[in-house]
Symmetry: C3
Subunit: 213 residues, 3 copies
């Protein structure tokens, strides 16, 4: 029961972070009206969880069975819509909010996958899929190449956080501390990647030719 | 039984409208050949219903179990392909067809969700998801920002139609009259939005700066 | 049992071909780093099978239950990443790999759909959906119009291969020979289409106007 409550609390926190992020993105990068902002905020917030629930056959998705997900997602999107002007100069929060959602969802995605009987490796991947799912749908809808493809240190921290979660569950040490440690590790690695603009190594494809004037 | 037949009839009418719309879009905006036209018409027509059936765990989707969906979708797409030249100057029908599909699917989506035991709020949202799903997949495939994000009065009429449907079902007044009223309301609001180019309010994001020369 | 092994072997071969293809695409067309290459390779490789398994309600998808899918997909993507430089001048393989994946997946998709009790027409379409699914997700993620829409002879050979598979199963003649014949037919038709740049007929939409200077 305690683990279920913990999962729910972390899930809703992730939903809120991604709803703010999706709504800010809708306002700034796609110049959408309030309905578009609400739609993109909600989709970003619950997209990852829906993909997870479809893949582990937990249908209908928690989002639809449990009204709190939709309420938190809609609230986050509306708050972002009305706070856009006061927060106009804050560019940082969008990246921080995205990293927060990523960190929370990799933990909840992995632990829910384990609870539905999937193996350890599958749970790690599903944690990462949950974490990157909403943002990927957001980027596809507004015509951007998704972060999971373009940014090296986006999938990696999600996989790390999911791995720590799975290890903690298997060692019977999963709880609020382990969950926050796993999320914190993901968040830290992601923010280090953002701060230093780190990317994983790329293949060399006639780079001198591509770079020549 | 009568409600099932009504649902099927409205669903197939919506499939036909979206198949025509998707196929016209393929011909005019993406200049696709007959296979591409058929593919985009069918995907637009059955995409929303598939998303709905996945989310309410009605798998395999009705589209695959019941051959009439695919037959009507394919027929609509082929008719659009061969009638494109005679109808060349008719731009209006594309918007009307899209609005017709939207209106029919918000009703069928909501009533099917209720029939599968989902709550009222969830059924309203699933009605809207069914209505906007096919068009959203169509727009993503050809690289357009989906109407559900860019056009304020697109999701709202779908939510209205779905709400009327859910209220009618809960008051035991659902039938052909209520279904047509709900669809008509959605269609009317959508066409008013198109006619007067109405959008919901947008956030003010340094508009003077963005608009400055 | 023999049919299951055959299905698995063909499926894994298709996964490998699409993983190479998706990873090469990531390196060359989207200039992604190693994580992006791995992600796009794996998604291309297993995307079609996941769509199929969702639609036939075989959840969680084989990809997640059976670790061999993910292992083969990851191996293919990594091989492509490290072999990109030596293979730099080989453009042909990308099209050949895509055609190979298409051919293998239309057979496995159709036969798995039949095994799950779907009808013949549905199995043919699901075979084609499995075949084109991964490549379509790949193209949407990097912002390209999917081949299934833009290239006439892409969906058609997949439908042909799936049809031969379904006929063979229904005539109790399905086995390694029939499967390879079906895949070979799909592959042959696809490569003929590529070689001669064949497309299905397009609608005439004021072509003289569009072509005028």
């Amino acid at each position: 029961m305690a683990v279920v409550s913990l999962l729910l609390a972390l899930d809703l926190a992730g939903v809120f972070a991604f709803a703010l992020n999706g709504a800010f993105t809708a306002v700034r990068q796609a110049r959408l009206d309030i309905v578009g902002v609400l739609a993109l905020g909600v989709i970003t917030a619950i997209g990852g969880g829906i993909v997870r629930d479809v893949l582990i056959d937990a249908l209908p998705p928690a989002t639809f069975v449990d009204w709190r997900y939709l309420a938190v997602a809609a609230a986050g999107a509306l708050i972002a819509f009305f706070l856009t002007r006061p927060l106009e100069r804050l560019v940082v929060p969008m990246i921080v909010l995205d990293a927060a959602g990523l960190s929370l969802f990799c933990v909840t995605g992995a632990s829910k996958a384990l609870a539905f009987g999937l193996g350890a490796a599958q749970a790690v991947i599903l944690g990462a899929v949950t974490a990157v799912g909403g943002g990927t749908i957001r980027d596809v809808l507004i015509g951007r190449v998704p972060s999971v493809l373009s940014s090296g240190l986006y999938a990696v921290p999600a996989l790390l956080g999911a791995t720590v979660t799975v290890v903690a569950v298997r060692l019977h040490g999963y709880g609020i501390v382990a969950a926050l440690l796993a999320a914190g590790l993901c968040f830290g690695v992601r923010m280090i990647g953002v701060r230093f603009n780190l990317n994983a190594p790329a293949a060399r494809v006639g780079r001198h030719e591509a770079g020549a004037p």
